[in-house]
């Protein structure tokens, strides 16, 4: 999200995830706004330390699941009962309700399919990670063995970053 804003930022590199976690707590304690943290892997507890809003992806996933369930019900009733009625397991009842047990696996799979796929796509679009999106990582080293904290530029920020144990500090 850094590219959408044009306020000046300061970037500090670290070598250890525990140091980063402490640094974020320390900086926020001093009233400095931590805009973003780049890390090669997820750091436990970082979302809380950064004060990020709770994700709403769970609610989205639930909705997507319901959509999947609806689609499953519609396609099974269309394919198996309306368009070309099928004799299922020697029980030609020809209604969706009476054949429902046979459709449960489809309902289950499509619920999971829709929830999982749409959730991933939602996540990627919200975080601008879709195919073709401009890379947002300011320093490729953070994909390997470095960690980066990005804070809003301001008075005393450089000293505060140094105090947290940053190995490299750059203004941008």
């Amino acid at each position: 999200m850094a590219h959408t804003e044009h306020t000046p930022v300061v970037r500090a590199l670290y070598l250890d995830d525990d140091v980063v976690l402490d640094a974020v707590k320390d900086l926020r304690g001093k009233g400095i706004k931590v805009k973003e943290v780049y890390s090669p892997f997820p750091i436990h507890g970082l979302d809380k330390a950064m004060g990020l809003k709770e994700t709403r992806i769970a609610m989205a996933a639930f909705m997507y699941g319901l959509i999947g369930l609806t689609v499953a019900i519609l396609i099974t009733s269309y394919m198996m009962n309306l368009d070309w009625p099928q004799n299922i397991g020697g029980k030609p009842s020809m209604t969706w309700g009476k054949n429902m047990p046979a459709f449960v696996p489809i309902m289950f799979e499509l619920t999971v399919f829709f929830a999982a796929h749409l959730m991933v796509w939602t996540f990627m679009i919200i975080n601008k990670l879709y195919p073709g999106a401009a890379p947002q990582n300011p320093d490729p080293r953070t994909t390997d063995h470095h960690f980066m904290i990005e804070v809003a530029a301001g008075e005393g920020v450089l000293d505060a970053l140094k105090a947290t144990g940053a190995i490299e500090i750059a203004e941008a």
């Binding site: 436990h44 507890g45 769970a58 639930f62 299922i88 397991g89 020697g90 029980k91 030609p92 009842s93 009476k98 047990p101 046979a102 449960v104």
Partner: protein
């Protein structure tokens, strides 16, 4: 340190006594009730289920004529609903009069069956917790180390319902009841009017001696594992600081899990599946186990919550509780998965050896059956799906009530149709048996909780458990 107060002791003992008195009343009244009920009930039932199943059979066979082939599944259905196992259904000789044995025993079986339902339900709480405890050691789980003492306390309860099972097995062998149809006199004797060729074919496994022996074996293995795990855990506390018995415990737990993998299935066949002696299902053992396990996890979750609220477990935080909630949710879904796997294959293949089981349950027991499914699947899914709800006491308690009620009903529906048929009900014996075991459970668990510190001193992973977070 947990304190087992006098008040709590009195409460638990009162529950047990009240339950015992209610059961005695139930045992003494069940006979009369049956006689007045019997005559017209049989008649009504016959026409009712006949009509219903006939309709279903028509649907299944569509416009086809009522040829001879129709008669086989037809008779089979009626038979299941009445739990009478008429030999005529199998195209052998007609024993219409001589073979009504099981049905006649229906009313007399009722108090015994009700006791079996409660025994299995509470056995599930004990054995499920014991299995969960064993998993923690075998998997070297760190998060749960802080609540192992709670698990031990519940797991030790397993011996009591097992004794109840032994009591039922022995009284069954003495012909005091006929919950298990194959225990009937002469059923495996070719010259007897009660002879049933299919059941006689199962004699090698289903016979009085082997049945009792197996029940004793379960008692020894399960209660023994609970006892040993607890003994070592207490021993560990007495060791000098830094020494642990973790690997001893782990070996013990792994051994128990291997034995339980076999005995969980065979015990389910013995105690529950053999009630419907003709019928069989290959995943019945797992299905029963899943129900027992989720019951146990629910009880554990509620118990841990109770102890936390009363400040006995300061080292347990919301994240531990959340994980227990996840287990509750996951195994409710797992139970549903197995229930459905068993049901759908039988529904789909639609063969007369298998369908009677569900025809009986969709006939007489339909309301209970549907309610049970809603309670065991839809309610836990809706209540526990969201992350936050697993961290809120009210939601967990609500889900716990649904799951416990649902699985009690599930066991009821597994046992009652085959053993009492339409003589089922909810009265003195059902409630009495529940209170009896509930009182014993409360007493045993609280006594065990009070017997040792709730925090293990030398457990190898206790520190990890304290730091557990998300």
């Amino acid at each position: 340190m947990f304190v087992f107060t006098k008040k709590a002791k009195l409460f638990a003992m009162t529950l047990t006594l009240v339950g015992l008195v209610m059961m005695v009343i139930g045992f003494n009244t069940s006979g009369h009730e049956a006689e007045s009920h019997d005559a017209h009930a049989t008649e009504m039932h016959a026409t009712e289920t006949h009509a219903e199943h006939a309709e279903e059979a028509h649907v299944a066979h569509a416009e086809e004529a009522h040829d001879e082939a129709m008669d086989a599944p037809h008779a089979e259905e009626a038979e299941a609903a009445h739990a009478e196992h008429g030999a005529e259904a199998h195209g052998e000789e007609a024993h219409a009069d001589g073979h009504g044995g099981h049905e006649d025993h229906g009313a007399a079986n009722r108090p015994w069956s009700a006791f079996l339902v409660n025994t299995i339900f509470f056995l599930g709480i004990g054995i499920g917790t014991l299995f969960f405890l064993a998993i923690q050691y075998a998997a070297q789980a760190g998060w749960s180390a802080g609540i192992l003492r709670v698990m031990e306390s519940v797991a030790l309860f397993v011996g009591i319902p097992l004794l109840g099972m032994l009591f039922l097995a022995i009284t069954g062998n003495m012909d005091m009841h006929h919950i298990w149809h194959w225990m009937q006199d002469g059923i495996m004797d070719e010259t007897s009017p009660n002879y049933d060729a299919i059941i006689a074919g199962k004699e090698g496994y289903l016979n009085d001696t082997f049945f009792t022996l197996r029940t004793v074996a379960y008692l020894v293995i399960w209660a023994g594992a609970a006892f040993l795990l607890r003994r070592n855990s207490l021993k560990e506390d007495a060791l000098p600081e830094g020494q642990t018995m973790f690997f001893t415990q782990r070996k013990l737990a792994a051994t128990f899990i291997v034995l339980y993998a076999v005995t969980s299935s065979t015990s389910a066949w013995d105690w529950i599946m053999s009630i419907d002696t003709h019928w069989f299902s290959t995943l019945f053992g797992w299905y029963t186990f899943a129900g027992m396990f989720v019951t146990a996890l629910t009880v554990l979750n509620v118990l841990v919550m109770y102890l936390r609220v009363n400040n006995y477990l300061p080292w347990v935080n919301d994240n531990h509780q959340h994980d227990l909630g996840k287990f509750m949710f996951a195994f409710s879904v797992f139970w549903t998965y197995l229930w459905f796997s068993q049901y759908m294959l039988i529904w789909y293949s639609n063969i007369p050896e298998e369908t009677p089981y569900y025809l009986a349950r969709f006939g007489e027991y339909k309301t209970l059956f549907i309610t049970m499914l809603v309670l065991n699947f839809i309610m836990p899914v809706l209540v526990l799906m969201s992350r936050d709800s697993k961290r809120i006491m009210g939601f967990i308690l609500m889900a716990a009530v649904f799951v416990l009620a649902g699985h009690w009903m599930d066991h009821y529906i597994m046992i009652m149709p085959g053993s009492v048929g339409y003589h089922y009900g909810f009265g003195w014996v059902e409630i009495g048996g529940f209170l009896f075991y509930a009182g014993l459970l409360l007493y045993v668990v609280q006594r065990n909780l009070a017997a040792a510190p709730l925090r293990m001193k030398n457990h190898a992973l206790i520190h990890e458990s304290k730091l557990f977070h998300q």
